[in-house]
Structures are given as structure tokens and as C-alpha cells.
Symmetry: C2
Subunit: 319 residues, 2 copies
């Protein structure tokens, strides 16, 4: 069985909510609702960052951002929070699912999650990309919202790591070596870092500095390898260089970009031999332009096929 | 609910079997085993071509080729035939599944089918392409085989039709109009044609001439539109032009090529703005080089996202 790296994610904002005061036990229980566990926590002056057994949870006074991978049920955590906060107190909510590697292993699909959320709050749902391509499903609270400043979020989702970086996370390394060789704690200067090397393989990193974060999750399993990088750092003119750096570390065969910005769609990335094969951008009634792009590699030489045997079985045992 | 256009396919050869003598009732029963029905039949001197409610069945004296789409269980038909013919009498067998648009709507996945087939005959299984991309799963009988002459098969699988051709098959047209406007019966000269316009939408065509066939299946549903074109016509130098013609009729956003040839991998297709994003070729122990390539469109402008509502539900009701 492969591990499903693709994350589900929600972000909700309730101004004046003082979310940090709810404390660690509250967020441990929240993680468990989704089927994950809190492994560790770091904090900046404005942000608590929980590293989870399946991805990450960031809590500031008025915002909660949670992402979980594997076979977790993030919708349960989102639904619980909506009830706890009260739908009328929500200023913003988005709930995302990427198309999964192995959708038949998931407890629910996006449409089932939608049934839950739409009973609680009025919202709109979109699909970014055609069903046969990499695509993003998004639900958001249908309520006018004005982001503070240049509130934007960039996600880089990388598939099928081709370079030597994959082996670094594939077991047998010490955490010290992984830190030293990957340099993932140095992507931006001055961040506090919390990272974790999973057994038998996998790596997660949370980084915070005041109200900024970045987070990286590596699923190194061959044939379904995946890395997500997400940040709310305001990249401005350095965005293209940051993207190039991240892609060059992991050398994926393909990657997706997801960009929330109050006004702008994500610019084109000039990075041969990658070409953009999918590009969808939509102005949302919750105050953001959301854009999604997929880059694939222009392929010249044929590879050999992958031989399938018992160990490549991807069906859940109970299907 | 969308209709799953992606086909499952098997081909089996047993020299001296005289398959055509088994008669229409036998093949009607075979189609029903897979969950399909025979709608009509045409014949050439060497080939019977059955048009099915879900795709096609071709029978010559020593070869049976069957492809079915939707939620059919083609593996049942394959398994039945293996038993009937006797594993030792088989000279060649291949069983293919393309990755589906909606895998969670299928009764089985490829691995479950493999469990059935591997109990009956010794074989090898391969995946052509990574799990997140368009990819092909193939099982074949592990037995040396020498094809007669230049026995090759080309499949062109087209996704997300962008041009006016899609509307032609989307209901409301007469069969006469579809024939006239699509010109699909004139791709190669001198073939007998059998075609069918489905209600509320969809179109299938079988064409035969002596031992040659071509077949086309159109699933026009918006957002999951799909066309397959398959032929055993020996295209030689005209292959590239034939491919261009087919792609230009349907104007897909992406397409896959599958090519069985005794020796050669499929050549590169120069057709901007398409670029090849996946290319896998494997020499099989059953005497064929099998190659698989995916072409996607280099995308410049952003599209709007697709709004999801009740009608975009893709989950089966009972999931």
C-alpha cells in the first residue's frame, strides 16, 4: 500500500476569536477528530504551529489553518470547528481537496464532504481542472471578506521526485543528516524550525516567524512520491526564485501551484523542461483570486514500464 | 453522474481455434457476461464486428478482441474465454485497463482483475506511467509469441474535447447528420461501416475490411468527454497523418497513444501546442513492443473554474 501524500486543507478566520487561548489540549482533540495526532509544537509571537502525524495545524488569534494527508477525515475537524465557533461568527472559510493518488482508499470524496459543510454554512464549490488531470476541489463560505494587507498563500505540490533528494527521506538517515543535506530549514531566514523524520520514511517541517509560516511534507515512497510546500510569506518579486529553488531541490516530474491572492493570478513560471498543462483562475466571492496551475515535463526519451507484483497492490484490503 | 468512457480491453489469440464458428448467440452471451449487449453486427470475409452497448467485440478465426467502457466487468468475459478455450491452447493474451476518470465507480480495480487472471494463466503485469498521470495497466500471458507480419495496433484516447465536434455527438442530431458532418466512416477507404447513436448521447462506430478494423467510441458528456479510436490497419508512413487527422477532428485537451508493434516504439508526434508529458515503452515477453505516450496542451491563458452543484455529483449513490 502506498501512502496518500495529497492533503486536504481548511483555513478559517473569525476576527476577535482569540483561538490561541483554547490551548494545546483543544487542538490535540481537534487533530484526533481528523484521525491525526499532535507530535510537537513551536510558537512565534503570533502563531502556534503544531506538527501532526499527518501534516500540520497553524493557529493564530483569528485564524486556523489545518492540513492533513493520508486517509484522514479533515472534514470532521472543520465541521466541529464551525459548530464550536458558530457559523455567524465566521468571516472566512475555505476547504480544499486535491485529487488523490488513490481516491478509492479515502473514507469520503469531496462531494460527501460538501454535503456535511453545506448543511452548516452557505458556500460555493468549484473544481479547478478537468477530472482526468491534476485538479483542485474548493468549497468556500459565501460571504464578503477583505483580506488584511497582501494576505496570500502559495502551495507547491510536487509529484514523482526524480533527483537524489527522494532517497534522503526514504529511511536510514538521521534527522541531523536530513537537516544538513536538505537545507529545508534555510529556505527563508530567521524562522524557528520544528521537524520530524517518520519511520519507516517521510519527513515533515514547520517553520514560523511572527505571523509567517512555511511547511513542508515529504512522502518519499517510490512511484507515489510527493512533497508539499506551503507558505504565507509575502514573496513579491522573489516568488519565481523561491519556486525554482523548491522545484530544483525535489526535481519532481510534475507539480501544481495553488495561489490565494486578493487580486492577482499566479504568474507563469519559465522553467524548462516544464510546461504548463493546466491553468485555472477564479475570482471568489470571499475576497480572493484563486489560481491553480499544473506543470509537466516535456518528455523526450521512453522509460521502461513498472513491473507490478504483490507489493504494488494499491487496493485497500477491505475493498 | 458522468459516464466512464475509458475502456478495458483484452485480445486473445488461439491459432486454429475457428472462433467465428461459435456463432452470434455465443458472443451475445459473452457480452452479457461483461455487462454489455450486442446491438448489431457486420462482417468482412475474415472478421465479425459486434457493436456493443458498451464498445466493441471483434472476432476472427484465431483472435478475439473485446473492449468495453462504463462500469462493465470485462474481466469476467476474459476469464470465461480462458476457461472455454483452455489455458494451454492460448497463444497470446493481453488484458488492459486505462486509469479511469472515476475509479471509485468501478466494480473492481486492475489489481482485483489480476487476481482472477493470474489464477488461470501465468502472466506478467506492468504499469505504463505514474499513478498521478494518465497511465495504462497491462497483463499478458507469459509465453513466447511471433506475430504474423507487421501485426500492430494503434489506440488514440482523447480527453476533454474542445472543438465543435463534441456537440455533434451530444444529442439532438440525427445519425445521418452525424455521419455526414463527422466523416468518421471515411477515415480509411473501402471499409464496411456499422454505427450507432446512443440516447441521450454518445456514438459508436465499427468498420471492417478483410482482416482490418477500426473502431471509434465517443462519450461527449461535458467535463468528462472522451473518444477512443483504435485500429489494426498497418499505417506505416501514414501513421502521423492519421493521428493528426483524428486529433484535429476531436480537438482534445490531451490524448494518449497506445501502440503494439512487434519491434518498434511509437514515434514522436509533432503537433503543437501538444507536448509529450509521458512516454513509456516496454519489450514484452509475448513478442510485442508496447509503448504508451501522453500528450498535453501547453496552456497559456487561464480558464475559469467549474462551479459544482448537485448535477456534478460523481459519487455513486451507494457509496
Amino acid at each position: 500500500m502506498f501512502f496518500e501524500g495529497s492533503e486536504k486543507k481548511f483555513e478559517l478566520i473569525s476576527r476577535g476569536a482569540r483561538f490561541r487561548q483554547r490551548g494545546d489540549a483543544y487542538y490535540s482533540a481537534l487533530a484526533e477528530l481528523a484521525g491525526a495526532k499532535v507530535l510537537s509544537k513551536i510558537s512565534s509571537s503570533k502563531l502556534d504551529a503544531y506538527l501532526l502525524s499527518e501534516s500540520s495545524l497553524f493557529v493564530s488569534d483569528d485564524c486556523i489553518t489545518m492540513l492533513t494527508c493520508g486517509r484522514t477525515s479533515l472534514v470532521r475537524a472543520a465541521s466541529f470547528l464551525i459548530d464550536q465557533i458558530g457559523p455567524a461568527q465566521l468571516d472566512f472559510l475555505s476547504y480544499e481537496r486535491k485529487n488523490e493518488y488513490f481516491p478509492h482508499q479515502q473514507e469520503t470524496d469531496f462531494y460527501k464532504d460538501l454535503e456535511v459543510l453545506q448543511k452548516q454554512i452557505p458556500g460555493k464549490a468549484y473544481r479547478f481542472g478537468f477530472p482526468d488531470e491534476h485538479h483542485l476541489m474548493v468549497f468556500h463560505l459565501d460571504k464578503p471578506f477583505t483580506a488584511r494587507g497582501l494576505d496570500c498563500t502559495l502551495e507547491v505540490l510536487m509529484y514523482n521526485l526524480q533527483g537524489p533528494a527522494r532517497a534522503l527521506f526514504d529511511g536510514g538517515q538521521t534527522l541531523e543528516n536530513v537537516r544538513q543535506l536538505s537545507q529545508l530549514g534555510q529556505i527563508f531566514p530567521g524562522f524557528a524550525i520544528d521537524d520530524y523524520l517518520f519511520q519507516p520514511c517521510g519527513y515533515s517541517l514547520n517553520a514560523v516567524k511572527e505571523s509567517e509560516y512555511y511547511t513542508i511534507h515529504v512522502t518519499p515512497e517510490e512511484d507515489a512520491s510527493y512533497v508539499s510546500f506551503e507558505t504565507n510569506v509575502q514573496l513579491g518579486n522573489s516568488m519565481m526564485q523561491t519556486l525554482r529553488n523548491v522545484v530544483e531541490v525535489f526535481q519532481p516530474r510534475s507539480f501544481d501551484l495553488i495561489f490565494f491572492h486578493p487580486e492577482r493570478e499566479i504568474p507563469n513560471l519559465d522553467l524548462p523542461p516544464f510546461v504548463r498543462s493546466n491553468f485555472v483562475s477564479q475570482s471568489l466571492s470571499c475576497g480572493f483570486e484563486l489560481s491553480f496551475a499544473t506543470y509537466v515535463m516535456h518528455t523526450m526519451q521512453a522509460r521502461a514500464a513498472v513491473i507490478l507484483d504483490e507489493s504494488s497492490q494499491t487496493s485497500p484490503a477491505n475493498s
